[in-house]
């Protein structure tokens, strides 16, 4: 394989590349956050009016520990009753599987073609 000589990148080009990466990185975390789509779907399904430790389902030991931590039943209401919603659709799981498989397949395919160039130049051009 002919020896490949990469172009020299100017300072402005280097700066732009860094900015692109930083914007993509910050976007990956913050865009879902700003759109309210990220994170847990923990909610209180059935709130309890005038809660007591008993109505919150706490036994005396559990109630005593909450009181030692500085909580009363009203203050601990959301903490105790909030739950994740783990219901999901099969299509959502399939979409996740497809996204992950496509990602790794894409990466391995492109990597392999790049790797063959590396090996050819390293070992075959002497």
């Amino acid at each position: 394989m002919a020896h490949y000589t990469p172009p020299v990148q100017g300072k402005m080009g280097q700066l732009i590349d860094v900015i692109v990466l930083v914007v993509l990185t910050v976007g990956a975390l913050f865009v879902p956050l700003w759109m309210g789509l990220a994170g847990s779907s923990k909610t209180v399904a059935t709130p309890v009016e005038n809660p007591t430790w008993e109505t919150l389902g706490q036994n005396p030991v559990q109630a005593a520990q909450y009181e030692a931590l500085g909580y009363d039943p009203a203050g601990a209401h959301d903490l105790i009753l909030a739950r994740f919603d783990y219901s999901f659709s099969v299509s959502a799981v399939l979409i996740m599987v497809v996204v992950i498989v496509v990602y790794y397949a894409l990466m391995l395919k492109f990597s392999e073609s790049e790797y063959r160039d590396v090996i050819a130049e390293k070992f075959d051009s002497k």
């Binding site: 994170g39 923990k42 389902g57 036994n59 783990y86 492109f110």
Partner: protein, 479 residues
């Protein structure tokens, strides 16, 4: 068989024979242990308890042990490959030599984001701890945590800038103190010395045992990784240890054993004292569960010890994260995967100082702008993508360079069983993340797909081809 002196005390890992201008080889096995355990031990002090929130206390324990198996596979695989590919960048450099450039670019980003997000999570916890201590000391009103978050990140970045030996010696000391604090809490609260305050039976009875049923166990695997996330960072020191073939496997495997013990003890004392709903909510409930357990022990000495342990664990972890993320970023800059400006070594301190400085504002953006569980999830996802790469890596490594074709510092047993187990546990963990954090999972993979296309079609033109391959190995089989 190709031979290479990967243990040279004067030469770095650049090029087939090394040079005298790169990173210094000054570290021993204890530093490797301190780097690995130092990064991870904070996982016992905060973050793991989200696993309790996702599935309950028993689910968290099962997740802890399955995650322990996952990380044992990671440590075994990593020890073999990194004791052979002894150069800065760890898994990034492994991927570059074994799988290909695009994979290496992605792995480099996994490392940088896993560690930078972990660093941000540590700084958030340190800020929280300072505010709690201020409240306990009589401060009225809410304390602004932001100055402390900034102080933690800036001061540790400065320490890293000044030199790796001082940085990791500092880590060794504070990690040891944080580990001893867990042991003391266990001994003092479980009845070994004095009266036991454990109430597992009452706190885990009825619906509290498995509040979500069996799906909760699956879901808990998401944050179960947090018990150990970062142990693979030991490989980042490959170019700075005096004897990579000995120090890296020894330090890494001793590290995972330490963490298995610490994780189990942590689970035991925390769920025996704290109600699961409080323990499982790391944002509105227990941000620092070991510290909260000490608070309920009634012992002022334990409160101080675990307060110091939590602070030291966060500092050690943030310190190690800066070390590892900067090595990965530096390595990618040196290879022109990223702008070459980042590939500079400080002329006096011999540290990747530009990479260290550049990552400071990135860590600050996340530490100051995102909630803890989101930051942790971002870190876990990057780590998980990296663990999924490892089985592919070891299978290709053994296929391209079979045993006895090159000198290995360590050969892991039972191949390919650890690779298959690791891949299976990764698949389960992807599903666990999907349960509750599916949007972030898709956003994260979307990000990596976009940057992969950017790298392949734009950035890669600036990269030399054959020069990327720096190991003095024979041509891989099948090429």
């Amino acid at each position: 068989m190709a031979q290479t002196n990967i243990g040279s005390k004067t030469m770095d890992g650049m090029g087939p024979k090394g040079t005298k201008v790169g990173l210094l080889r000054v570290l021993g096995p204890a530093h490797v242990w301190a780097l690995g355990v130092g990064i991870v031990l904070v996982g016992e002090y905060m973050g793991w308890n989200f696993a309790v929130g996702k599935g309950g206390a028993y689910a968290a324990l099962i997740a802890c042990w399955f995650a322990g198996i996952l990380y044992t596979c990671v440590a075994m695989i990593d020890s073999e490959v990194t004791s052979t590919v002894a150069a800065a960048g760890g898994q990034y450099t492994q991927a570059k030599h074994i799988v290909g450039p695009l994979m290496a670019f992605n792995v480099g980003l996994y490392l940088v984001f896993a560690y930078t997000m972990l660093e941000a999570g540590n700084a958030i916890t340190a800020g929280y701890l300072v505010s709690v201590v201020a409240g306990m000391s009589g401060h009225e009103g809410a304390l602004d945590q932001r100055p402390f978050i900034i102080l933690v990140i800036m001061s540790l970045a400065w320490l890293n800038y000044r030199g790796v030996l001082a940085t990791l010696t500092f880590n060794l000391i504070i990690t040891a103190i944080a580990f001893v604090a867990i042991l003391v809490l266990f001994v003092a609260t479980t009845g070994i010395v004095g009266a036991s305050i454990m109430q597992h039976g009452a706190l885990m009875e009825g619906a509290a045992a498995l509040p979500y049923g069996w799906i909760g166990i699956l879901a808990a695997m998401h944050f179960g990784l947090w018990f150990y996330l970062g142990i693979e960072g030991t490989t980042q020191a490959a170019e700075e240890v005096r004897s990579p073939a000995r120090a890296l496997p020894f330090g890494t495997l001793a590290g995972i054993m330490t963490l298995l013990i610490a994780a189990t003890l942590t689970w035991y004392v925390c769920v025996g004292v704290l109600p699961w709903e409080f323990l499982g909510d790391g944002v509105n409930g227990s941000v620092a569960p070991l510290f909260d357990t000490a608070r309920l022990s009634g012992s002022t000495g334990l409160v101080w010890l675990l307060g110091i342990g939590t602070l030291f664990a966060t500092l050690a972890s943030a310190n190690g994260c800066i070390n590892d993320a900067s090595r990965a970023w530096f390595s990618m800059g040196r290879d022109k995967y990223l702008p070459g400006w980042f590939g500079a070594v400080h002329p006096t301190y011999r540290t990747p100082y530009r990479a260290i400085i550049f990552l400071v504002p990135i860590a600050l953006i996340f530490a100051l702008g995102a909630p803890l569980d989101q930051v942790i999830t971002f870190s876990i996802l990057s780590g998980l993508l990296g663990y999924t790469f490892m089985p592919l890596n070891i299978i290709m490594f053994r296929r391209k360079w079979p045993l006895n074709s090159i000198k290995r510092g360590y050969e892991h047993p039972f191949h390919p069983v650890p690779a298959i187990v690791l891949l299976s546990l990764c698949a389960i963990t992807f599903f666990a993340v999907f349960l509750g954090y599916g949007t972030q999972l898709v956003a994260m993979i979307g990000f990596y797909i976009v940057v992969s296309l950017w790298f392949h079609f734009w950035r890669y033109r600036f990269v030399s081809r054959g020069a990327q391959f720096t190991m003095p190995w024979p041509k891989p089989k099948g090429y």
